[in-house]
Symmetry: C2
Subunit: 316 residues, 2 copies
DNA sequence: ACATGCTGTAAGCATCGCTTCACACGCCCC
DNA sequence: GGGGCGTGTGAAGCGATGCTTACAGCATGT
């Protein structure tokens, strides 16, 4: 029972909620899935699925089995990577995750450096929000990822508040804190150099944020500022997760915006950035699955990124 | 790769250090083992064994695979038990471990009570030293075990100082402390009721302990007493791990002994026991594998034993 | 009432994995 | 030095496993 093939089948069935769709996803016939899942039920001595004319639903017993199937799948992937790492000592595959603003400033130069050092490693970059990367680390789709967390927002929490991985399943190495900066049109009253701007100074301003549910900066900045006792007026109509678009909106005088320093590399000429006192920060970190084997490639990439992050921190 | 069958084969090969002996242990032909391990090596893309005319030695890569194989095996066992527990809700199997002195006073009445309540459960008792039970919990040979630790001696440490399980792999529920009592011949100067005996009063006495390496009381009492600043004279010639034998030696006037209170249920007429001030104690606890599914049978047994242990503590 | 989409069963065929038998190799003892 | 005795390995054969194809049963929705 719980052969490697059955594990894949069980996971596919759980994901798609139907033998037929699982079969399609795995390039099998529905009959094969039905037979294997039937045998699995016989071996386990329990009903694992509630059959219905529109698919199947996992029972409690099936769900218990599913959790172990996922764990075993992780062990199999780890075992393979580990053995490959031991024998080849170098080379192999490195799947690396990053989030958009870090991809430009950290991941890109890191990949360039890493590739120069280890041409033989098959390097793969997968961009995504931190919680997506966290889920992919947990499922071993990624070996290493750049992520960030906010003070009240763990990296493994998606934008609806669900945790995609337990805290002890992801190990993290803090790199630096990335503060939010103020993005202003050049003619703005706060744009003139002078005293540092406080969060409370923005109470009258209209803030252009991200669409709720798209990225945490819009939604979560509201929370952070609310906790700091400041109620910001977020623009309801003009929202965008794209920094270029946000800059355009700001330049047009439709409001001001907060943007992470990492995103402030490519600025338009008609906007200015100003630091903010006690600004909220994104805690940028490197993450990998707890307990997983760290191949030489992973260790090397960690060193490369630590060096780049050190330079960034020094500039700040 | 790492099919359930291959896992058993790999574990057997690692245990016996030979394809042939592993085959004998699993009732296979050596050829079957050789073929499967060959395929495993091909799948893993690495040499897992160093062949020699007297058997095989696991390589580093093989050892890495072995660790994952053990973990997967645990998941499979847990998954089975969990599913069985969910569907049957009651019944199934309960493998219970105990150490000798607790078997008589706790495990026996607990088993009697449990059996009355759950006739349908296939209950199994496996006596052994705490570190043996700890190892069996870790490998899922046991579901639950009575164990004890000393102040400087974890339950999972064998009598040569090796840990058979990491601390976080075994979860423990402390039950009570079992103090060592003084066992004296009836004519002994300390046998008369009077002031409580102190450890220091025994400095002149000849102590009859257990053979070193057999049980912790002999060896570890020396350490405990040495740390308390008392150097006891352990009898070199007369040593036994059997309490009846120890009593006979004591009754014959060859020395005195320390015995756990749990072992003091069946005393000869010509010996007496006396309490000891600041006596060393065995911390008796219930243990089960961390993270494993606790079936209704296990939970019920925990309750039964807690009740019995509560009575024992009350008597003390 | 029919079509659709799902699961489940039966028959056929390829593959997998065991056993048996045979062999090559290193070690030890005579 | 040669013959046991141990080891791991390979080829042939046979049964079991697991896929495909084809078809049946059943609920739903048009």
């Amino acid at each position: 029972m719980l052969d490697e093939r059955r594990i894949e089948m069980l996971l596919a069935v759980a994901e798609h909620g139907s033998f037929t769709r699982a079969a399609a996803a795995l390039s099998f016939t529905p009959s094969a899935i039905s037979q294997q899942m039937g045998l699995l039920e016989r071996d386990a001595g329990a009903v694992l699925f509630e059959r219905s004319p529109r698919g199947v639903r996992i029972t409690e017993a099936g769900d218990a089995l599913l959790l172990h199937a996922e764990a075993i799948r992780r062990h199999l992937l780890d075992a393979r990577a580990e053995v490959a790492g031991i024998t080849k000592a170098r080379g192999g595959r490195l799947a690396f995750g990053s989030f958009p603003t870090a991809t430009a400033t950290i991941a890109a130069p890191a990949i360039a450096t890493f590739h120069r050092r280890h041409e033989e490693v098959d390097l793969q970059l997968l961009d995504g929000e931190p919680y997506e990367s966290a889920a992919r680390l947990h499922s071993r789709e990624l070996d290493l990822a750049l992520i960030f967390s906010l003070d009240n927002w763990p990296a493994a929490m998606d934008y609806e508040g669900n945790l995609v991985a337990r805290e002890d399943e992801i190990e993290m190495l803090p790199l630096f804190d990335d503060p939010f900066l103020l993005l202003l049109p050049e003619s703005h009253r706060l744009a003139a150099a002078g005293e540092e701007v406080k969060l409370a100074d923005l109470a009258e301003e209209r803030i252009i944020g991200s669409p709720v549910g798209c990225a945490p900066w819009g939604m979560d900045l509201e929370h952070i500022c609310a906790e700091a006792g400041v109620e910001l007026m977020f623009q309801a109509t003009y929202r965008s997760a794209d920094f270029q678009a946000q800059q355009a909106l700001v330049a047009s005088g439709l409001g001001i915006s907060l943007l992470p320093r990492l995103a402030a590399s490519a600025l338009r000429a008609d906007v200015v950035i100003r630091p903010l006192m006690n600004a909220p920060v994104r805690h940028v970190a490197l993450a990998w699955p707890t307990g997983a084997y760290r191949s030489p490639a992973v260790k090397s990439m960690i060193e490369v990124i630590e060096a780049i992050a050190g330079d960034l921190r020094f500039q700040a």
